[in-house]
């Protein structure tokens, strides 16, 4: 089917293409605007603040100023925010899979009391605004003094990121496990394989497509996370990128380092952008695949 369609496209039907012309124009204009936005910010990050304000961003009269990046990375602490976000995102993504994959599998394959309730509550939790749950959590965490020490503060942040994403990750993986035929597990059971081993060695690898997709989504979400960190981060040294960038913007009035700000924007933007360049097919497929009509 696909091959036939492709063949039909490759022969140029002038009339057909002409009919599609308005569509092309809309799409091209849209993409050009996005590109202009990104290119301008990239160019600004390589200019000086004075050049930005005199409107000479795309002319580079004094060459490329890569030192903006060095300054942003070192003296504006972007390296710290970057490291924090990377740490939070990686640890949370790993924990999410370790917890949610077996959870989703158990909810999919075993019958036990409360299973239906858990499944529907997990689905419902995806629609609960985070403000609905955040106040009591803050009370408990702050009263226990867990935000006073950097290490416990970090652990709390990761736990929050993980817990907040459990409903989504588990529900997403559940549909993946339900599509894996039971015959693999039955064969393993006949061979005397312990069910836990069966899961990790046979079923888990079979679900790797879903696991990697959900991990990409979790990574992007946690890398860009803002609200939870705003509430729960208690010291500058623990800030993730979104929060660090926000504090830089607020400080702009005093520092006036606009070129440095744009360099920081690019640094924050790059990791997810690069991820997206390589994995956009998977990401887009993950969204379309998860939609129930």
């Amino acid at each position: 089917m696909r091959a036939i369609e492709r063949k039909r496209y490759s022969t140029l039907h002038l009339g057909r293409e002409l009919r599609l012309l308005p569509g092309y124009l809309v799409l091209i204009a849209w993409v050009l605007f996005t590109a202009a936005l990104l290119f301008w910010v990239l160019a600004a990050s390589l200019s000086t603040t004075a050049e930005i304000f005199s409107g000479e961003v795309l002319k580079f009269p004094t060459g490329f100023h890569f030192e903006n990046y060095v300054k942003a990375w070192v003296s504006s602490n972007v390296s710290v925010f970057f490291g924090n976000s990377l740490f939070y995102a990686c640890v949370s993504c790993a924990l999410l899979i370790l917890i949610s994959a077996p959870y989703a599998y158990a909810l999919e394959r075993f019958t036990f009391p409360g299973r239906r309730w858990i499944r529907s509550s997990l689905a419902a939790a995806m629609g609960v605004p985070i403000v609905m749950v955040i106040i009591p959590i803050y009370t408990v965490v702050a009263r226990a003094g867990l935000l006073k020490h950097p290490s416990s503060n970090r652990i709390i942040l990761i736990l929050l990121f993980v817990a907040a994403k459990i409903p989504y990750t588990t529900t997403f993986l559940g549909t993946y496990f339900s599509n894996i035929p039971k015959s693999y597990e039955e064969a393993a059971a006949i061979d005397g394989c312990h069910p836990i081993e069966t899961f990790w060695r046979i079923v888990f690898p079979l679900a790797r497509g879903g696991i990697s997709t959900v991990t990409i989504f979790n990574f992007i979400a946690i890398w860009n996370e803002y609200f939870l960190s705003l509430l729960f981060v208690n010291s500058d040294a623990l800030r993730p990128v979104a929060l660090g960038l926000f504090s830089m913007i607020n400080g702009m009035k005093y520092s006036g380092e606009w070129a440095g700000l744009f360099a920081s924007v690019i640094i924050v933007f790059l990791p997810t952008f690069i991820l997206y360049l390589f994995l956009s097919k998977k990401i887009i497929g993950g969204i379309s695949g998860g939609i129930k009509g």
């Binding site: 849209w30 993409v31 961003v57 009591p136 009509g293």
Partner: protein, 302 residues
Amino acid sequence: MKRNRAMLLAFTLPGTILFLGMFVYPLIRTVFMSFFSIMEITDPVSRWHFNGLGNYRSLFSASLFRQSIWNLLKIWTLGGLITLTISLLLAVILSSGIRGKSFFQAAIYLPNVISAVAMATMWIQYVFNPSYGFLTHFFRAVGLKQLAELQWLDGEHKFWALLLSYCFGMIGHHMLIWISGIERIGREYYEAACIDGAGRREQFFHITLPLLRGILKTNIVMWSISIAGFFVWSQLFSPLTPDTSTVVPMVYLYVKLFGAESVDAISRDAGSGAAIGIILSLFVLFVFQLTNRLLKDDDLEY
């Protein structure tokens, strides 16, 4: 398959505990808190004072809160209309057999993977900038002098700037949802329509649109969930003080919980904060029920 009690516990316990701790317990406690007046968010229960519906009443008598709800409703309806129509339009274009579909799709979805703080900064510092900004240059180039001189970020236009830039990012996401719906419609409907002599426009209004009711529901619910959590964009457009043109309930809540140097008018009260959480959740629930009632799609099989 043999049921294995220890395995079942090991597989379900960590997830269930985190879920109960993050969602179930706080949800119930938030409901209770919303009926008490609580000075500090860390106050123990013994210092809570029962206030009945007082928190709700005082919220709705505060003009800044009413403004925040009004702004949210404006973003929900106007932004929803803009986002859902434009994303549907793009989805229809992309499904019409265009070349480079996956490239366009990926490029339009791109803003969704970028940090909202970075995205909003690009818009505020570049697109809307009155001296070197994109819009100024663009409108000057096409000869629309009045539009070129528009101050996008002043009090009068800030809301529209916020709405426009927020929708731009969201359109890509909703477009993908529409596309997944359009692609599920069987080709035979269009072939039959073609034989009956229906043109493209008729095909869209009589086949595509009615069959997309279920997807419309998904889109409205997803849009409402994002709007209930609307926060970062508002904070970036008015970073230091909540501003009447861009304030939303979450920003108001943040000030209610932690205070803001410049807003003395809002007294700190965690109970009212909880009430705001309830109001936003009820809003999502209401939209969900309403769309379920209005857009019944079980009579359609395809």
